[in-house]
Symmetry: C2
Subunit: 262 residues, 2 copies
Protein backbone atom coordinates (compact mmCIF):
# COMPACT_ATOMS: atom_id res chain seq x y z
CA UNK A 1 0.00 0.00 0.00
CA UNK A 2 1.33 3.43 -0.91
CA UNK A 3 2.08 6.02 1.75
CA UNK A 4 -1.04 7.73 3.02
CA UNK A 5 -1.11 11.37 4.04
CA UNK A 6 -3.13 13.62 6.27
CA UNK A 7 -3.96 16.50 3.92
CA UNK A 8 -4.21 19.89 5.61
CA UNK A 9 -5.29 23.05 3.77
CA UNK A 10 -5.80 26.73 4.43
CA UNK A 11 -6.10 30.00 2.53
CA UNK A 12 -2.50 30.82 3.39
CA UNK A 13 -0.18 30.33 6.31
CA UNK A 14 -2.64 30.52 9.21
CA UNK A 15 -3.35 26.79 8.97
CA UNK A 16 0.24 26.13 9.94
CA UNK A 17 -0.83 26.51 13.57
CA UNK A 18 -3.04 23.44 13.03
CA UNK A 19 -0.27 21.69 11.13
CA UNK A 20 2.13 22.39 13.98
CA UNK A 21 -0.29 20.96 16.56
CA UNK A 22 -0.65 17.83 14.39
CA UNK A 23 3.16 17.53 14.02
CA UNK A 24 3.54 17.76 17.77
CA UNK A 25 0.78 15.34 18.74
CA UNK A 26 1.25 12.86 15.84
CA UNK A 27 4.92 13.13 14.88
CA UNK A 28 5.04 9.94 12.78
CA UNK A 29 2.09 10.77 10.49
CA UNK A 30 2.82 11.79 6.87
CA UNK A 31 1.53 15.32 6.41
CA UNK A 32 0.71 17.45 3.37
CA UNK A 33 0.01 21.15 3.63
CA UNK A 34 -1.63 23.20 0.91
CA UNK A 35 -1.77 27.00 1.34
CA UNK A 36 -3.83 28.86 -1.28
CA UNK A 37 -1.57 31.89 -1.04
CA UNK A 38 -2.61 33.22 -4.46
CA UNK A 39 -6.11 33.82 -3.06
CA UNK A 40 -5.41 34.66 0.58
CA UNK A 41 -7.30 35.96 2.52
CA UNK A 42 -10.61 34.05 2.38
CA UNK A 43 -12.13 35.85 5.38
CA UNK A 44 -13.13 38.95 3.42
CA UNK A 45 -14.35 37.17 0.25
CA UNK A 46 -17.94 36.14 -0.56
CA UNK A 47 -19.32 32.75 0.51
CA UNK A 48 -19.70 31.63 -3.11
CA UNK A 49 -16.10 32.48 -3.89
CA UNK A 50 -14.82 30.79 -0.72
CA UNK A 51 -16.70 27.58 -1.64
CA UNK A 52 -15.13 27.62 -5.10
CA UNK A 53 -11.63 28.07 -3.66
CA UNK A 54 -12.16 25.29 -1.11
CA UNK A 55 -13.35 22.77 -3.71
CA UNK A 56 -10.20 23.53 -5.73
CA UNK A 57 -8.02 23.12 -2.63
CA UNK A 58 -9.46 19.70 -1.86
CA UNK A 59 -9.27 18.61 -5.51
CA UNK A 60 -5.56 19.35 -5.30
CA UNK A 61 -5.12 17.31 -2.09
CA UNK A 62 -6.83 14.39 -3.86
CA UNK A 63 -3.82 14.03 -6.13
CA UNK A 64 -2.34 12.17 -3.15
CA UNK A 65 -3.54 9.09 -1.21
CA UNK A 66 -5.25 10.55 1.86
CA UNK A 67 -6.26 9.08 5.18
CA UNK A 68 -7.87 12.33 6.33
CA UNK A 69 -8.54 15.89 5.19
CA UNK A 70 -8.20 18.76 7.65
CA UNK A 71 -9.84 22.11 6.95
CA UNK A 72 -7.27 24.23 8.80
CA UNK A 73 -9.15 27.50 8.38
CA UNK A 74 -12.17 28.59 10.38
CA UNK A 75 -13.55 30.65 7.49
CA UNK A 76 -13.30 27.71 5.07
CA UNK A 77 -14.80 25.30 7.61
CA UNK A 78 -17.69 27.59 8.55
CA UNK A 79 -18.58 28.56 4.98
CA UNK A 80 -17.65 25.45 2.97
CA UNK A 81 -17.36 22.63 5.53
CA UNK A 82 -20.96 21.39 5.08
CA UNK A 83 -20.58 21.44 1.26
CA UNK A 84 -17.31 19.50 1.46
CA UNK A 85 -18.84 16.82 3.67
CA UNK A 86 -21.78 16.48 1.26
CA UNK A 87 -19.44 16.32 -1.73
CA UNK A 88 -17.21 13.65 -0.18
CA UNK A 89 -19.55 11.74 2.18
CA UNK A 90 -17.22 8.75 2.53
CA UNK A 91 -14.08 10.63 3.47
CA UNK A 92 -12.93 11.59 6.95
CA UNK A 93 -13.03 15.38 6.84
CA UNK A 94 -11.95 17.19 9.99
CA UNK A 95 -12.56 20.85 10.70
CA UNK A 96 -11.72 23.37 13.38
CA UNK A 97 -15.16 24.67 14.41
CA UNK A 98 -16.66 21.56 16.04
CA UNK A 99 -13.52 20.70 18.09
CA UNK A 100 -13.17 24.29 19.35
CA UNK A 101 -16.88 24.52 20.15
CA UNK A 102 -16.73 21.28 22.17
CA UNK A 103 -13.67 22.48 24.06
CA UNK A 104 -15.32 25.83 24.84
CA UNK A 105 -18.41 24.11 26.26
CA UNK A 106 -16.17 21.92 28.45
CA UNK A 107 -14.16 24.95 29.58
CA UNK A 108 -16.82 27.44 30.62
CA UNK A 109 -18.15 27.64 34.17
CA UNK A 110 -20.52 30.58 33.82
CA UNK A 111 -21.76 29.53 30.36
CA UNK A 112 -20.69 32.84 28.88
CA UNK A 113 -18.48 32.23 25.85
CA UNK A 114 -16.87 34.78 23.55
CA UNK A 115 -15.87 34.11 19.94
CA UNK A 116 -13.18 36.07 18.12
CA UNK A 117 -13.13 35.33 14.38
CA UNK A 118 -13.08 36.78 10.86
CA UNK A 119 -16.12 38.60 9.50
CA UNK A 120 -17.03 35.63 7.32
CA UNK A 121 -16.85 33.14 10.20
CA UNK A 122 -18.93 35.37 12.48
CA UNK A 123 -21.55 35.99 9.75
CA UNK A 124 -21.86 32.27 9.05
CA UNK A 125 -23.08 31.64 12.61
CA UNK A 126 -21.20 28.31 12.57
CA UNK A 127 -19.81 28.69 16.10
CA UNK A 128 -23.21 29.66 17.52
CA UNK A 129 -24.79 26.52 16.02
CA UNK A 130 -21.92 24.25 17.12
CA UNK A 131 -21.92 25.55 20.71
CA UNK A 132 -25.68 25.81 21.20
CA UNK A 133 -26.33 22.25 19.99
CA UNK A 134 -23.99 21.10 22.79
CA UNK A 135 -25.34 23.48 25.42
CA UNK A 136 -28.54 25.35 24.60
CA UNK A 137 -28.06 27.41 27.77
CA UNK A 138 -24.76 28.88 26.65
CA UNK A 139 -24.71 32.66 26.20
CA UNK A 140 -22.60 33.76 23.27
CA UNK A 141 -21.01 36.96 22.05
CA UNK A 142 -19.13 37.05 18.74
CA UNK A 143 -16.72 39.77 17.71
CA UNK A 144 -15.45 40.06 14.12
CA UNK A 145 -11.75 40.95 14.31
CA UNK A 146 -10.79 41.92 10.74
CA UNK A 147 -7.48 43.56 11.67
CA UNK A 148 -5.94 40.53 13.39
CA UNK A 149 -5.07 38.53 10.26
CA UNK A 150 -3.25 41.51 8.70
CA UNK A 151 -1.37 42.04 11.98
CA UNK A 152 -0.24 38.40 12.16
CA UNK A 153 0.56 38.23 8.43
CA UNK A 154 2.82 41.22 8.99
CA UNK A 155 4.55 39.66 11.97
CA UNK A 156 2.88 41.93 14.52
CA UNK A 157 2.15 39.51 17.37
CA UNK A 158 4.19 40.72 20.36
CA UNK A 159 2.34 41.55 23.55
CA UNK A 160 4.42 44.72 23.95
CA UNK A 161 3.56 46.04 20.46
CA UNK A 162 1.39 49.12 21.11
CA UNK A 163 -0.65 48.58 17.93
CA UNK A 164 -1.33 44.96 18.88
CA UNK A 165 -2.37 45.99 22.39
CA UNK A 166 -4.67 48.77 21.18
CA UNK A 167 -6.41 46.65 18.53
CA UNK A 168 -6.82 43.69 20.88
CA UNK A 169 -8.14 45.92 23.67
CA UNK A 170 -10.80 47.22 21.31
CA UNK A 171 -11.91 43.73 20.26
CA UNK A 172 -11.78 42.36 23.83
CA UNK A 173 -13.75 45.19 25.38
CA UNK A 174 -17.28 43.87 24.57
CA UNK A 175 -16.24 40.34 25.62
CA UNK A 176 -15.01 41.57 29.00
CA UNK A 177 -18.15 43.68 29.45
CA UNK A 178 -20.31 40.62 28.69
CA UNK A 179 -18.49 38.69 31.41
CA UNK A 180 -17.20 35.72 29.41
CA UNK A 181 -14.91 33.25 31.17
CA UNK A 182 -13.87 31.52 27.92
CA UNK A 183 -12.90 32.90 24.51
CA UNK A 184 -12.62 30.82 21.34
CA UNK A 185 -9.75 31.96 19.13
CA UNK A 186 -11.84 31.18 16.06
CA UNK A 187 -9.22 31.76 13.36
CA UNK A 188 -6.09 29.72 12.81
CA UNK A 189 -3.97 32.89 12.80
CA UNK A 190 -4.96 33.87 16.31
CA UNK A 191 -2.87 31.37 18.31
CA UNK A 192 0.11 33.57 17.40
CA UNK A 193 -1.60 36.33 19.38
CA UNK A 194 -2.47 34.05 22.30
CA UNK A 195 0.21 35.44 24.60
CA UNK A 196 -0.72 39.03 23.78
CA UNK A 197 -4.42 38.32 24.36
CA UNK A 198 -3.77 36.39 27.58
CA UNK A 199 -1.70 39.29 28.95
CA UNK A 200 -4.73 41.56 28.53
CA UNK A 201 -7.25 39.09 30.00
CA UNK A 202 -5.22 36.85 32.33
CA UNK A 203 -8.34 35.45 34.02
CA UNK A 204 -10.11 34.30 30.82
CA UNK A 205 -9.51 30.85 29.33
CA UNK A 206 -8.48 30.92 25.67
CA UNK A 207 -9.42 28.03 23.37
CA UNK A 208 -7.18 27.54 20.35
CA UNK A 209 -9.17 26.05 17.48
CA UNK A 210 -5.86 24.72 16.13
CA UNK A 211 -4.99 22.68 19.22
CA UNK A 212 -8.58 21.49 19.57
CA UNK A 213 -8.62 20.31 15.93
CA UNK A 214 -5.41 18.31 16.31
CA UNK A 215 -6.73 16.61 19.44
CA UNK A 216 -9.96 15.51 17.72
CA UNK A 217 -8.04 14.33 14.66
CA UNK A 218 -5.82 12.15 16.84
CA UNK A 219 -8.84 10.54 18.50
CA UNK A 220 -10.57 10.02 15.16
CA UNK A 221 -7.87 8.50 12.96
CA UNK A 222 -8.78 4.92 12.04
CA UNK A 223 -5.11 3.96 11.86
CA UNK A 224 -2.03 5.69 13.17
CA UNK A 225 1.40 5.54 11.58
CA UNK A 226 3.57 6.85 8.76
CA UNK A 227 7.14 7.98 8.28
CA UNK A 228 6.95 11.57 9.42
CA UNK A 229 7.02 12.87 5.82
CA UNK A 230 6.16 16.57 5.45
CA UNK A 231 5.37 18.23 2.10
CA UNK A 232 4.18 21.79 1.54
CA UNK A 233 2.42 23.22 -1.53
CA UNK A 234 1.41 26.82 -2.19
CA UNK A 235 -0.36 28.57 -5.08
CA UNK A 236 1.86 31.70 -4.95
CA UNK A 237 5.60 32.28 -4.50
CA UNK A 238 7.22 29.65 -2.29
CA UNK A 239 9.97 31.96 -1.03
CA UNK A 240 7.43 34.31 0.50
CA UNK A 241 5.68 31.34 2.11
CA UNK A 242 8.95 30.05 3.50
CA UNK A 243 9.84 33.45 4.97
CA UNK A 244 6.42 33.89 6.58
CA UNK A 245 6.05 30.27 7.69
CA UNK A 246 8.97 30.58 10.08
CA UNK A 247 6.77 32.71 12.31
CA UNK A 248 4.46 29.73 12.66
CA UNK A 249 6.84 26.76 12.58
CA UNK A 250 10.54 27.21 13.15
CA UNK A 251 11.55 24.06 11.27
CA UNK A 252 9.21 22.97 8.44
CA UNK A 253 11.11 19.67 7.99
CA UNK A 254 10.07 19.34 4.35
CA UNK A 255 10.13 20.77 0.83
CA UNK A 256 7.88 23.53 -0.47
CA UNK A 257 6.54 23.44 -4.05
CA UNK A 258 4.53 26.02 -5.94
CA UNK A 259 1.56 24.65 -7.90
CA UNK A 260 -0.96 26.27 -10.22
CA UNK A 261 -4.58 25.29 -9.74
CA UNK A 262 -5.96 27.37 -12.62
CA UNK B 1 -18.46 54.56 -34.24
CA UNK B 2 -19.41 52.66 -31.11
CA UNK B 3 -19.10 54.21 -27.69
CA UNK B 4 -15.55 54.23 -26.41
CA UNK B 5 -14.66 53.80 -22.77
CA UNK B 6 -11.85 54.68 -20.45
CA UNK B 7 -11.13 51.33 -18.76
CA UNK B 8 -9.96 51.57 -15.17
CA UNK B 9 -8.85 48.56 -13.14
CA UNK B 10 -7.61 47.72 -9.68
CA UNK B 11 -7.25 44.72 -7.37
CA UNK B 12 -10.35 45.78 -5.50
CA UNK B 13 -12.00 48.99 -4.46
CA UNK B 14 -8.94 51.20 -3.90
CA UNK B 15 -8.90 52.24 -7.55
CA UNK B 16 -12.23 53.94 -7.01
CA UNK B 17 -10.30 56.96 -5.71
CA UNK B 18 -8.79 57.24 -9.21
CA UNK B 19 -12.18 56.58 -10.79
CA UNK B 20 -13.70 59.32 -8.66
CA UNK B 21 -11.01 61.82 -9.67
CA UNK B 22 -11.68 60.94 -13.34
CA UNK B 23 -15.46 61.32 -12.85
CA UNK B 24 -14.93 64.73 -11.32
CA UNK B 25 -12.44 66.08 -13.85
CA UNK B 26 -13.95 64.41 -16.98
CA UNK B 27 -17.66 64.03 -16.20
CA UNK B 28 -18.76 63.31 -19.77
CA UNK B 29 -16.32 60.42 -20.45
CA UNK B 30 -17.69 56.86 -20.53
CA UNK B 31 -16.01 54.93 -17.75
CA UNK B 32 -15.58 51.22 -17.01
CA UNK B 33 -14.27 49.96 -13.70
CA UNK B 34 -12.98 46.47 -13.09
CA UNK B 35 -12.14 45.43 -9.53
CA UNK B 36 -10.48 42.02 -9.17
CA UNK B 37 -12.12 41.48 -5.79
CA UNK B 38 -11.70 37.69 -5.95
CA UNK B 39 -7.92 38.19 -5.74
CA UNK B 40 -7.61 41.31 -3.59
CA UNK B 41 -5.13 42.32 -2.22
CA UNK B 42 -2.32 42.38 -4.78
CA UNK B 43 0.14 44.20 -2.51
CA UNK B 44 1.15 41.10 -0.55
CA UNK B 45 1.29 38.65 -3.50
CA UNK B 46 4.39 37.73 -5.55
CA UNK B 47 5.41 39.74 -8.61
CA UNK B 48 4.75 36.79 -10.94
CA UNK B 49 1.26 36.33 -9.56
CA UNK B 50 0.50 40.05 -9.76
CA UNK B 51 1.56 40.11 -13.44
CA UNK B 52 -0.73 37.18 -14.20
CA UNK B 53 -3.68 38.88 -12.49
CA UNK B 54 -3.02 42.17 -14.30
CA UNK B 55 -2.89 40.54 -17.75
CA UNK B 56 -6.26 38.91 -16.99
CA UNK B 57 -7.71 42.24 -15.83
CA UNK B 58 -6.67 43.98 -19.04
CA UNK B 59 -7.89 41.07 -21.21
CA UNK B 60 -11.28 41.60 -19.60
CA UNK B 61 -11.29 45.35 -20.29
CA UNK B 62 -10.53 44.55 -23.94
CA UNK B 63 -14.01 43.09 -24.31
CA UNK B 64 -15.03 46.74 -24.69
CA UNK B 65 -13.91 49.44 -27.15
CA UNK B 66 -11.35 51.45 -25.21
CA UNK B 67 -9.82 54.88 -25.68
CA UNK B 68 -7.48 54.46 -22.71
CA UNK B 69 -6.54 52.00 -19.99
CA UNK B 70 -5.85 53.25 -16.46
CA UNK B 71 -3.89 51.11 -14.01
CA UNK B 72 -5.60 52.41 -10.86
CA UNK B 73 -3.37 50.52 -8.44
CA UNK B 74 0.18 51.46 -7.48
CA UNK B 75 1.16 47.83 -6.89
CA UNK B 76 -0.11 46.74 -10.32
CA UNK B 77 1.52 49.74 -12.02
CA UNK B 78 4.89 49.27 -10.31
CA UNK B 79 5.06 45.50 -10.80
CA UNK B 80 3.21 44.97 -14.09
CA UNK B 81 3.08 48.41 -15.76
CA UNK B 82 6.22 47.88 -17.88
CA UNK B 83 4.99 44.43 -19.01
CA UNK B 84 1.58 45.86 -19.95
CA UNK B 85 3.12 48.62 -22.03
CA UNK B 86 5.31 46.09 -23.84
CA UNK B 87 2.36 43.76 -24.41
CA UNK B 88 0.16 46.54 -25.82
CA UNK B 89 2.64 49.02 -27.32
CA UNK B 90 0.02 50.84 -29.41
CA UNK B 91 -2.47 51.50 -26.65
CA UNK B 92 -2.64 54.50 -24.36
CA UNK B 93 -1.93 52.99 -20.94
CA UNK B 94 -1.96 55.36 -17.99
CA UNK B 95 -0.60 54.58 -14.57
CA UNK B 96 -0.41 56.23 -11.18
CA UNK B 97 3.34 56.13 -10.44
CA UNK B 98 4.64 58.54 -13.10
CA UNK B 99 1.98 61.21 -12.47
CA UNK B 100 2.51 61.10 -8.70
CA UNK B 101 6.30 61.16 -9.08
CA UNK B 102 6.09 64.24 -11.35
CA UNK B 103 3.79 66.01 -8.92
CA UNK B 104 6.08 65.22 -5.97
CA UNK B 105 9.11 66.67 -7.79
CA UNK B 106 7.11 69.84 -8.56
CA UNK B 107 5.93 70.07 -4.95
CA UNK B 108 9.11 69.68 -2.94
CA UNK B 109 11.24 72.66 -1.90
CA UNK B 110 13.92 70.86 0.14
CA UNK B 111 14.13 67.88 -2.28
CA UNK B 112 13.29 65.47 0.53
CA UNK B 113 10.38 63.26 -0.53
CA UNK B 114 8.72 60.46 1.41
CA UNK B 115 6.81 57.57 -0.15
CA UNK B 116 4.12 55.61 1.67
CA UNK B 117 3.09 52.46 -0.23
CA UNK B 118 2.47 48.72 -0.06
CA UNK B 119 5.36 46.33 0.45
CA UNK B 120 5.26 45.26 -3.21
CA UNK B 121 5.35 48.86 -4.49
CA UNK B 122 8.23 49.80 -2.18
CA UNK B 123 10.21 46.66 -3.12
CA UNK B 124 9.74 47.34 -6.83
CA UNK B 125 11.65 50.64 -6.50
CA UNK B 126 9.30 52.13 -9.12
CA UNK B 127 8.84 55.44 -7.29
CA UNK B 128 12.58 55.86 -6.74
CA UNK B 129 13.25 55.41 -10.47
CA UNK B 130 10.38 57.69 -11.51
CA UNK B 131 11.41 60.50 -9.13
CA UNK B 132 15.19 60.26 -9.62
CA UNK B 133 14.95 60.39 -13.42
CA UNK B 134 13.17 63.73 -13.02
CA UNK B 135 15.46 65.04 -10.27
CA UNK B 136 18.65 63.08 -9.57
CA UNK B 137 19.27 65.30 -6.51
CA UNK B 138 16.06 64.24 -4.78
CA UNK B 139 16.50 62.45 -1.46
CA UNK B 140 13.97 59.68 -0.94
CA UNK B 141 12.69 57.64 1.95
CA UNK B 142 10.15 54.87 1.39
CA UNK B 143 8.02 53.29 4.10
CA UNK B 144 6.03 50.10 3.49
CA UNK B 145 2.66 50.54 5.22
CA UNK B 146 1.06 47.07 5.14
CA UNK B 147 -1.63 47.83 7.71
CA UNK B 148 -3.19 50.77 5.88
CA UNK B 149 -5.08 48.80 3.21
CA UNK B 150 -6.71 46.56 5.85
CA UNK B 151 -7.66 49.66 7.86
CA UNK B 152 -9.27 51.35 4.85
CA UNK B 153 -10.94 48.14 3.63
CA UNK B 154 -12.52 47.90 7.09
CA UNK B 155 -13.72 51.48 7.05
CA UNK B 156 -11.17 52.69 9.58
CA UNK B 157 -10.20 56.09 8.14
CA UNK B 158 -11.26 58.68 10.70
CA UNK B 159 -8.62 61.01 12.09
CA UNK B 160 -10.02 60.54 15.60
CA UNK B 161 -9.79 56.71 15.46
CA UNK B 162 -7.06 55.81 17.98
CA UNK B 163 -5.93 52.77 15.96
CA UNK B 164 -5.64 54.88 12.81
CA UNK B 165 -3.66 57.55 14.68
CA UNK B 166 -1.29 55.05 16.27
CA UNK B 167 -0.58 53.12 13.05
CA UNK B 168 -0.12 56.32 11.03
CA UNK B 169 2.16 57.82 13.69
CA UNK B 170 4.38 54.77 13.48
CA UNK B 171 4.63 54.92 9.68
CA UNK B 172 5.11 58.73 9.64
CA UNK B 173 7.83 58.79 12.28
CA UNK B 174 10.80 57.98 9.97
CA UNK B 175 9.48 60.40 7.33
CA UNK B 176 9.27 63.23 9.86
CA UNK B 177 12.72 62.39 11.22
CA UNK B 178 14.14 62.47 7.67
CA UNK B 179 12.72 65.97 7.23
CA UNK B 180 10.53 65.43 4.14
CA UNK B 181 8.35 68.33 3.01
CA UNK B 182 6.32 66.15 0.60
CA UNK B 183 4.83 62.68 0.94
CA UNK B 184 3.50 60.58 -1.93
CA UNK B 185 0.41 58.59 -0.96
CA UNK B 186 1.58 55.74 -3.16
CA UNK B 187 -1.46 53.48 -2.92
CA UNK B 188 -4.92 54.25 -4.23
CA UNK B 189 -6.45 53.38 -0.86
CA UNK B 190 -4.52 56.06 0.98
CA UNK B 191 -6.45 59.16 -0.18
CA UNK B 192 -9.18 57.99 2.22
CA UNK B 193 -6.65 58.50 5.02
CA UNK B 194 -5.50 61.88 3.70
CA UNK B 195 -7.32 63.90 6.34
CA UNK B 196 -6.03 61.66 9.13
CA UNK B 197 -2.46 61.88 7.82
CA UNK B 198 -2.67 65.64 7.28
CA UNK B 199 -3.87 66.15 10.86
CA UNK B 200 -0.69 64.45 12.11
CA UNK B 201 1.67 66.31 9.73
CA UNK B 202 -0.09 69.59 8.93
CA UNK B 203 3.06 71.15 7.47
CA UNK B 204 3.85 68.38 4.96
CA UNK B 205 2.38 68.39 1.45
CA UNK B 206 0.54 65.17 0.55
CA UNK B 207 0.45 64.00 -3.07
CA UNK B 208 -2.48 61.75 -4.01
CA UNK B 209 -1.47 59.38 -6.78
CA UNK B 210 -5.17 59.15 -7.65
CA UNK B 211 -5.63 62.89 -8.31
CA UNK B 212 -2.28 63.06 -10.12
CA UNK B 213 -3.27 60.17 -12.40
CA UNK B 214 -6.60 61.76 -13.36
CA UNK B 215 -4.87 65.05 -14.19
CA UNK B 216 -2.33 63.38 -16.52
CA UNK B 217 -5.08 61.31 -18.17
CA UNK B 218 -7.07 64.46 -18.92
CA UNK B 219 -4.05 66.10 -20.56
CA UNK B 220 -3.24 62.97 -22.55
CA UNK B 221 -6.58 61.94 -24.02
CA UNK B 222 -6.50 62.28 -27.81
CA UNK B 223 -10.21 63.06 -27.91
CA UNK B 224 -12.57 64.12 -25.16
CA UNK B 225 -16.25 63.24 -25.01
CA UNK B 226 -18.79 60.56 -24.26
CA UNK B 227 -22.14 60.25 -22.55
CA UNK B 228 -21.12 59.93 -18.94
CA UNK B 229 -21.80 56.17 -18.92
CA UNK B 230 -20.47 54.30 -15.85
CA UNK B 231 -20.23 50.52 -15.63
CA UNK B 232 -18.65 48.48 -12.84
CA UNK B 233 -17.44 44.87 -12.95
CA UNK B 234 -16.06 42.77 -10.11
CA UNK B 235 -14.75 39.21 -9.87
CA UNK B 236 -16.34 38.51 -6.47
CA UNK B 237 -19.72 39.30 -4.93
CA UNK B 238 -21.20 42.56 -6.22
CA UNK B 239 -23.18 43.30 -3.05
CA UNK B 240 -20.01 43.42 -0.97
CA UNK B 241 -18.43 45.72 -3.56
CA UNK B 242 -21.45 47.99 -3.53
CA UNK B 243 -21.42 48.20 0.26
CA UNK B 244 -17.70 48.97 0.42
CA UNK B 245 -17.66 51.25 -2.61
CA UNK B 246 -19.86 53.80 -0.87
CA UNK B 247 -16.90 54.71 1.31
CA UNK B 248 -15.06 55.76 -1.83
CA UNK B 249 -17.84 57.18 -4.04
CA UNK B 250 -21.19 58.12 -2.56
CA UNK B 251 -23.08 57.73 -5.84
CA UNK B 252 -21.67 55.19 -8.32
CA UNK B 253 -24.14 56.30 -11.05
CA UNK B 254 -24.05 52.92 -12.78
CA UNK B 255 -24.68 49.18 -12.62
CA UNK B 256 -22.38 46.60 -11.05
CA UNK B 257 -21.94 43.15 -12.64
CA UNK B 258 -20.04 40.14 -11.37
CA UNK B 259 -17.87 38.38 -13.95
CA UNK B 260 -15.72 35.26 -13.83
CA UNK B 261 -12.29 35.50 -15.41
CA UNK B 262 -11.32 31.87 -14.80
Amino acid sequence: MSEQYIGVFDSGIGGLTVFKSIMETMPSENLLYFGDTAHVPYGTKSEKQIRKFVLNDVAFLHRFPLKAIVIACNTADSVAGPLLRETYPDEPIYGVIEPAAAEAVRSTSNKKIGIMATKATVSSGAYDRAILKRDPQAQLISVPCPLLVPLVENGRCEKDDPVVRLVLSEYLEPLIRYGVDTIVLGCTHYPLLKEAIQSLVPEIRLISSSDAAAKVLKEGLASAGGHGIRRYFVSDDKQQFEDNASRFIQDLQGDIEQVSLE
